[in-house]
C-alpha cells in the first residue's frame, strides 16, 4: 500500500510537470487577447470586498462591450491576511497564465510581498491598496486607494474647521492604522492627539471598553479609521456610549448597512469616507441587477479601474510597455467613482468629502 502511494504521487508529479510545460508560453501577439489577472481576496473575512471589486470589473467589461477574444480576465483568490496565498496566486497568473496586467493584490503587505518580483516592464500591477512610499520604486506599480496622507490631512482640515482640537484616535493595529496614528501625531500645530487605541483585526468584535476609554478622555471628537467590518461594529457600538461626543469615522460602508444600524438618521456621526450616494448611474443600476444590492466603494473602484485600464490600453495600442505612461494621461473618463484618475506618481487622486447621514441619505458637508 505504501509503495503504491509513492508510485502514484511520483507519477502525478511528473505528469503534472510535463503537462504544465506543454502549455504554450508565447508572449501576446497582436491577435492574442490581453490577459488581466485579478488577485483579490475571494474568501475569508474580506471575501465580499474582493468579490465586489471583481463584479465592478466585470460590469465595466460588459458596458464597454469587450469580447473575451480581446480581453481575458483571470481571477484568483489572494486570501485575506496571509501573504503566502497572494504570492502563490501572483506566481500562478504570471507564470502559467502569462498575464499582462494585474489588478490586485489587496493591501500593502500583499503588494510588498509581490513587488520585488514584478519585472521592470511587465506586468503592470494596479494594487488595491493604500499607496505606500515603498511602492514608488517600482515603475509599473500603481495603487488605487487614496493615500493615507490625503485622508488624514483631509480629516484634520475637517476637524479644525469645526474647532475640534482635542482628538482621540481609534484605529486598527495594521499598517494602515499605524500610519494614520503617526501622521496625526505630526499635526501638533493643528490638533492635539489626546490618546489613541488600536484593535487587532480578526478577533471578537467587542470594542465597548475602547470606546468607553476614548469618551472618558473628554476629546472634542473621536476619530475612527477602520476597515469595513470593524467600522461597522464601531458604528454599532458607539452611539449608546457616546455621551454627546461626536464620532468622525473613515471606513467603507453602504446605505443598507447604515439603515440597518441607524434607521433614517445618524446623529452625532460624521463620515470621512468616499461614499458617493451617486455612483455613476448605469453602473449602479447594473450592479443592482446582478447582485440585488447597492454597490459599495470596492465595486465602484473595480469598475473605475477597469474603465481607465481599457482607455489606457487603447491609447497605448495594447503595448504593455507603453501602458504605464498611458495610464497617467487619462482625461475625463466616465467611472463609477467621481473624478477617478491616476496622478503622475502612479497614485490616485480622488476628492475626499465628509458626510452626514440624514433622512436615509448621505448629505455632503461643506468644509
Amino acid at each position: 500500500m505504501k509503495n503504491l502511494i509513492w508510485i502514484i504521487v511520483i507519477l502525478v508529479i511528473i505528469g503534472g510537470g510535463w503537462w504544465f510545460n506543454q502549455q504554450p508560453e508565447t508572449s501576446p501577439a497582436a491577435d492574442e487577447p490581453i490577459k488581466i489577472g485579478l488577485i483579490m481576496p475571494l474568501s475569508g473575512e474580506l471575501g465580499v470586498f474582493g468579490t465586489n471589486v471583481k463584479k465592478g470589473v466585470e460590469i465595466a467589461l460588459e458596458q464597454k462591450n469587450v469580447s473575451t477574444s480581446s480581453i481575458r480576465l483571470i481571477s484568483e483568490d489572494s486570501g485575506a491576511f496571509t501573504t503566502n496565498a497572494a504570492f502563490t496566486a501572483f506566481k500562478k497568473v504570471v507564470d502559467v497564465d502569462d498575464v499582462d496586467v494585474i489588478i490586485g493584490p489587496f493591501g500593502p503587505a500583499q503588494t510588498l510581498t509581490i513587488a520585488p518580483n514584478i519585472g521592470t516592464t511587465s506586468p503592470v500591477v494596479i494594487s488595491v491598496s493604500n499607496c505606500d512610499e515603498r511602492f514608488k520604486e517600482y515603475p509599473t506599480l500603481f495603487c488605487i486607494y487614496p493615500g493615507i496622507t490625503d485622508q488624514v490631512l483631509g480629516a484634520v482640515d475637517f476637524m479644525t474647521a469645526r474647532d475640534w482640537r482635542k482628538v482621540y484616535l481609534l484605529t486598527e493595529n495594521t499598517e494602515f492604522g499605524i500610519l494614520v496614528e503617526n501622521l496625526l501625531k505630526q499635526q501638533t500645530n493643528r490638533v492635539n492627539l489626546v490618546g489613541s487605541d488600536k484593535v487587532v483585526p480578526n478577533q471578537t468584535k467587542d470594542f465597548r471598553t475602547l470606546i468607553t476609554k476614548a469618551v472618558a478622555a473628554s476629546p472634542d471628537v473621536v476619530y475612527a479609521m477602520f476597515a469595513p467590518n470593524e467600522g461597522f461594529v464601531i458604528l454599532r457600538q458607539f452611539p449608546p456610549l457616546a455621551k454627546g461626543i461626536p464620532l468622525y469615522i473613515g471606513t467603507d460602508i453602504n446605505k443598507n448597512q447604515l439603515l440597518d444600524i441607524f434607521g433614517q438618521n445618524a446623529p452625532g456621526v460624521y463620515f470621512a469616507t468616499r461614499i458617493d450616494e451617486q455612483y455613476e448611474e448605469d453602473f449602479t443600476r447594473r450592479f443592482k441587477e446582478v447582485t440585488g444590492n447597492e454597490p459599495d466603494y470596492f465595486a465602484a473602484l473595480g469598475h473605475s479601474t477597469m474603465v481607465i485600464l481599457l482607455d489606457g490600453l487603447e491609447r497605448a495600442n495594447n503595448d504593455i510597455q507603453k501602458l504605464p505612461e498611458a495610464l497617467t494621461n487619462i482625461v475625463d473618463p466616465i467611472t463609477a467613482v467621481r473624478d477617478f484618475k491616476f496622478t503622475d506618481d502612479r497614485t490616485v487622486s480622488v476628492p475626499l468629502d465628509s458626510y452626514e447621514f440624514k433622512s436615509g441619505r448621505f448629505v455632503r458637508l461643506g468644509e
Partner: protein, 296 residues
C-alpha cells in the same frame, strides 16, 4: 474613576456573551470529553439561520429565533450522528476528534460563506433605535452613568436563565442524571442500561441550540459574519477551563471572570493586547489551578 461603572457593565456584557458559549461547550466536553471545534461554527449557523428566516424570508421575529435555534440544534445533532458517533465506536483518540472537528468547523464556515457571502450583517433593523437603559445614574456617589442596551440585557438574562435551566435539568430530571452518568463513565452507564448513544445525541442537540442562541444574540447586539465562530469558541473554552470544566456554574463564573480581566486589561494596558491577556490568564490557571475555580 468615572469610567468605572461603564467598565463594569462592559465586563458583564462580555461575560454574558462568553457565558452562552461556555455553557454549551462545557456541557458537551463534560459528557464526551473532547474539544469540539465544530461548536464554534454552530454559533455562526444559528446567527445565519435567524438571518435567513427573519430578514430574507420575512418571518416574524420570535418565530425566526425559535426556528433558528431548533435548526442549529438539529445540525449539531446531525454532525454527531454522521461523524463523532462513528469515531466513538472506534474508540478514536482525542487527536482524531480534534482534527475531525476542525474539518467540520472549516466545512460549515465555508458553506455559510458560500450561501450568505462574508459581509458583516446585523440581525436587527434600526438597531440604534433600541432602548438604552442607564444604570448607576448621575445621582449616585460614583458620579457617572453607565449604559446598557436592551439587547445586552437580554443576553445577560438569557445566559443566567439557561444556566439555571440547565442546572435544573442536570440535577432534577432523569435525562439530566443520565447525562451525568455518561459523563462520569460511559462504559458503566452502558452496563447499567442507559442508551448512551441517545443521551449523547441529546447533549449535542441541546449544546448546539445554546450555541445557536449565542450566535443569534450576538447578531442582534453587534452582527454576524461566517468567521465569528472561532474567536467566540476560544473564549468559551478559556471560560470553561478557568471556571471549572464539566460544571455548569463553572463555565458561567469563568466567563464573567474572563470578561472582567479582558476589559480591565484593555483599560490599563491597551486594546491590542486583549487576546494575549485572555490566553495569559488561561495559562496562569492551567499552571496553578487546572481544575478551575469550581471543582467538579
Amino acid at each position: 474613576m468615572t469610567i468605572l461603572p461603564q467598565l463594569i457593565v462592559n465586563s458583564i456584557i462580555a461575560g454574558a456573551i462568553y457565558t452562552l458559549v461556555a455553557i454549551g461547550f462545557n456541557l458537551i466536553y463534560g459528557t464526551v470529553k473532547f474539544f469540539d471545534l465544530g461548536y464554534g461554527a454552530l454559533t455562526a449557523v444559528g446567527g445565519y439561520a435567524a438571518f435567513l428566516f427573519h430578514k430574507k424570508l420575512g418571518l416574524d421575529l420570535a418565530l425566526s429565533i425559535i426556528l433558528a435555534v431548533f435548526l442549529t440544534g438539529a445540525i449539531g445533532w446531525l454532525v454527531n450522528q454522521l461523524v463523532y458517533k462513528k469515531l466513538r465506536a472506534r474508540r478514536a483518540s482525542n487527536m482524531v476528534f480534534l482534527v475531525a472537528s476542525l474539518g467540520v468547523f472549516t466545512l460549515l464556515q465555508a458553506l455559510l460563506a458560500i450561501f450568505f457571502s462574508s459581509q458583516f450583517q446585523t440581525l436587527s433593523t434600526n438597531a440604534a433605535g433600541g432602548r438604552v437603559f442607564e444604570i448607576f445614574g448621575p445621582t449616585t456617589w460614583l458620579g457617572a452613568g453607565a449604559v446598557i442596551t436592551q439587547v445586552q440585557l437580554i443576553i445577560l438574562l438569557s445566559g443566567l436563565a439557561i444556566m439555571g435551566a440547565l442546572a435544573l435539568l442536570l440535577k432534577r430530571t432523569l435525562f439530566g442524571k443520565a447525562i451525568k452518568a455518561v459523563a462520569d463513565d460511559e462504559e458503566v452507564a452502558k452496563v447499567v442500561g442507559i442508551d448512551t448513544a441517545k443521551i449523547i445525541g441529546g447533549v449535542f442537540f441541546i449544546g448546539a441550540m445554546i450555541a445557536g442562541l449565542a450566535g443569534i444574540l450576538v447578531g442582534f447586539d453587534t452582527g454576524i459574519e461566517p468567521t465569528m465562530g472561532l474567536s467566540l469558541l476560544l473564549k468559551g473554552v478559556i471560560a470553561s477551563i478557568i471556571g471549572g470544566i464539566g460544571n455548569v456554574y463553572g463555565g458561567v463564573l469563568g466567563a464573567f471572570l474572563l470578561g472582567f480581566v479582558e476589559n480591565f486589561g484593555i483599560w490599563q494596558i491597551s486594546g491590542e493586547w486583549k487576546d494575549a491577556i485572555a490566553f495569559g490568564l488561561l495559562i496562569i490557571f492551567l499552571l496553578f489551578r487546572p481544575q478551575g475555580i469550581i471543582r467538579k
